[in-house]
Symmetry: C2
Subunit: 155 residues, 2 copies
DNA sequence: TATTGTTATACTCTATAACTATA
DNA sequence: TATAGTTATAGAGTATAACAATA
């Protein structure tokens, strides 16, 4: 962000024209806001959105290999290596030998990773709730449902 | 994206846990989808989301200076230089001397920029409509309204 | 002194491609 | 031959900081 100033969605006196009518532009602005607040909420742990996703997925699907994690997250294998390296350095994830394949690793959270994930998840949920608090319950549910409908649609 | 494969929101057999309950995660996935289709739709013109925003804003607010554009778009001044450089190289934007300030430039679209922006805008609107087509009219309006409410809220 | 545009530099994220060790 | 993980490398995108010209 420029000069440490926060992003202003609409600068007074400026015409935004067609941008204001695009769902895609609104999605992008919402994403910027969500990302900013996520990073602030995760500051104590050094967790980014992809790191959080990786921790949750490995936690619930123990024994995943790096290639599987990459496919699930939609990133390149080399990206998964860097992601796991970072989580290993934070003491949250470990590469265990895969019993049936000496080329591969079984990914798992460390005990510290499991313990901190509980607190991290609570903080993420609180942040998600805080950002959406200006919507009433029905609006929150509608927004969530419509976003899922948008991105889960067949391509 | 990994190995030229498209992002799959839910890989069969994988547990996503709390991720599926977060509005922020849904926003991110919707944004990935919107971005992918935007880039595909803009392939004939080499236009990215920030380039499109810059063209629209300069088109509707002619005479803007680089520093103003940077502030409006929420990027650093150095980023605006690179953005304008790219649009100038595409033949879409020009730096005109600012009449009242010899340090600054007045940004404006070229004739080619104005002409192509009409077609580009039509393609962007078609893409936005295509991605949201699985929502009915009311759902589209609701989604747009709720996204704006989310990102326009006071921080 | 402050501001405008620019440049130099660096950091993050992510991709492709080549490599090694296994399968 | 194909696959798992790794490494090297490169390309966006964006940031900070310093600079010359001008205000």
């Amino acid at each position: 962000m420029s000069d440490s100033e926060l992003f202003v969605a609409h600068v007074p006196g400026i015409q935004y024209g067609v941008l204001d009518s695009l769902v895609g532009y609104a999605v992008r602005r919402a994403q910027i806001r969500m990302y900013e607040t996520f990073i602030m909420a995760m500051e104590p742990w050094g967790i980014t959105p992809p790191r959080f996703s990786a921790m949750v997925i490995v936690s619930l699907n123990p024994g995943l290999k790096l290639t599987q994690l990459a496919k699930i997250m939609g990133i390149a294998r080399s990206g998964a290596v860097i992601l796991v390296d970072a989580l290993e350095e934070l003491g949250y994830m470990q590469r265990l030998p895969a019993p049936e394949d000496r080329r591969a690793f079984s990914l798992a959270l460390t005990e510290k990773g499991k313990a901190d994930l509980v607190k991290i998840t609570a903080a993420v949920q609180a942040q998600d709730k805080a950002v959406t608090q200006m919507l009433d319950s029905k609006e929150q549910a509608d927004l969530h449902r419509l976003l899922l409908k948008l991105s889960d649609a067949a391509i």
